[in-house]
């Protein structure tokens, strides 16, 4: 299962993580986000570090990372954003960014 990232756990789970982390910014009312979800879950099953940010519940995280369009997927390595995908993104592209 993909984790749920919030302002409270973002630093420990994402910024201080040892492995690369995929963060999926989404919302319940966003069709493309719902269709992105299975891909994100597959990556979580494949032992990647994966988590989701519900922009409705975490507007400050969305604002901090300048999310203007969802789904937006970010990859963090060593506390830094190393990749950004806007719109529905394939598993292969995300997997490549997580290497």
């Amino acid at each position: 299962m993909a984790k749920v990232f919030t302002t409270d756990n973002f630093e420990t789970e994402v910024l201080n993580a040892e492995k690369p982390v995929l963060v999926d910014f989404w919302a319940t009312w966003c069709g493309p986000c719902r269709r992105q979800a299975p891909v994100v879950e597959e990556l979580a099953e494949a032992e990647y570090e994966v988590g989701k940010v519900d922009v409705d519940k975490e507007p400050s995280l969305a604002q901090q990372y300048k999310i203007m369009s969802i789904p937006t997927l970010l990859v963090f390595k060593g506390g830094k954003e190393t990749a950004r995908f806007v719109g529905l993104t394939s598993k292969a592209e995300l997997e490549a960014a997580l290497q």
Binding site: A27, C30, G31, C33, R34, M68, T72, G87, L88
Partner: protein, 302 residues
């Protein structure tokens, strides 16, 4: 709830309908107009034609053939697509829900390339008002376009944004209903901003320049929603979340399925050979695939 909605009534859409109808799916065709066949004066290279047919003639024959099989055809423009597990097709003639959708509206008419659109994607430029209106609460936004598609996006945004303006980029507004949304018909020179969109640079018209006024003006906007022309297959695919390829065509597999289960695409909108023969093949395949998909879905529910 419809089993299969086919958007587009050209060679791809009609072929899909023939196969779906034979598969007892009672498909509904949304006829969005003739598309690129209109420009084909003579078609000579299609199987079985002993004399050339005009594109218009072929299109009319296709419609008649589908009608003869009892296929329902609705003349309408699609203004939006949505849905989570099923598909919601919003049209100028009402909204429909379907288990499966086949996109076959042809290739996108070359839309004006406005500098900055690509550059600011995800930084203020968006293609889906329903998805992204949230980020523009209390902000000024612009919608690019001049048809009901743009109007629909603008209305969607008007619930959250503080102010919405439709920019037609010099084109005449073609809205089928009265509306209260501001419209600006000046030509757009570029979308400007630094890290994020800040607004639109507009070209002044000749009379302004003659009067010694500045040649351009700036319309501030924090968000720019692109809804140019009529909602083509690519725009619909994007709103649902299906992937496009590098050329902006819809990505499909051999079954003509997009990256969204239950959503199919056929004909010119998938790229490749822009020929009637290819569209007919694509449509046939998409029709068969959609039948299979819906049958499986219904079996699962039973």
């Amino acid at each position: 709830m419809e089993n299969i909605i086919i958007v587009g009534a050209g060679p791809a859409g009609i072929s899909a309908a023939l196969y779906a109808a034979r598969g007892n799916m009672d498909p509904l065709i949304i006829n969005t107009g003739i598309g690129s066949l209109e420009k084909a004066e003579k078609i000579e290279n299609y199987y079985g034609l002993e004399r050339p047919l005009s594109g218009k003639e072929l299109f009319e024959r296709g419609l008649e053939q589908a009608r003869a099989l009892g296929v329902r055809i609705l003349d309408a423009q699609v203004v939006g697509m949505g849905g989570f597990d099923t598909f919601e097709v919003k049209t100028t003639e009402g909204d429909f829900e379907a288990r499966s959708v086949i996109l076959a509206t042809g290739s996108k008419r070359a839309s004006a390339k406005i500098p900055g659109v690509k550059e600011f994607e995800g930084k203020g430029v968006s293609y889906c008002a329903v998805c992204d209106a949230f980020f523009y609460r209390g902000k000024d936004v612009a919608v690019l376009g001049n048809s009901d598609f743009a109007l629909h996006e603008a209305e969607e945004l008007s619930h959250t944004a503080s102010h919405v303006t439709i920019f037609t980029d010099g084109k005449k507004p073609e809205f089928s209903k009265e509306n209260a949304i501001d419209v600006n018909t000046m030509k757009i020179q570029a979308i400007e901003g630094d890290e994020r969109v800040q607004g639109l640079r507009l070209k002044g018209d000749v009379s302004l320049q003659e009067a010694g006024e500045p040649q351009t003006s700036f319309a501030p906007a924090e968000g720019v929603f692109v809804a140019l022309g009529t909602a083509g297959s690519s725009e619909m695919a994007r709103q649902i979340g299906a992937e496009l390829n590098e050329k902006g065509n819809i990505r499909v597999n051999e079954e003509m399925e997009t990256t969204v289960p239950g959503l199919y695409a056929a004909g010119d909108c998938t790229g490749g050979l822009l020929q009637v023969a290819k569209a007919v093949h694509d449509g046939a395949q998409a029709g068969l695939s959609a039948c299979q998909y819906v049958r499986k879905l219904l079996k699962g529910q039973a």
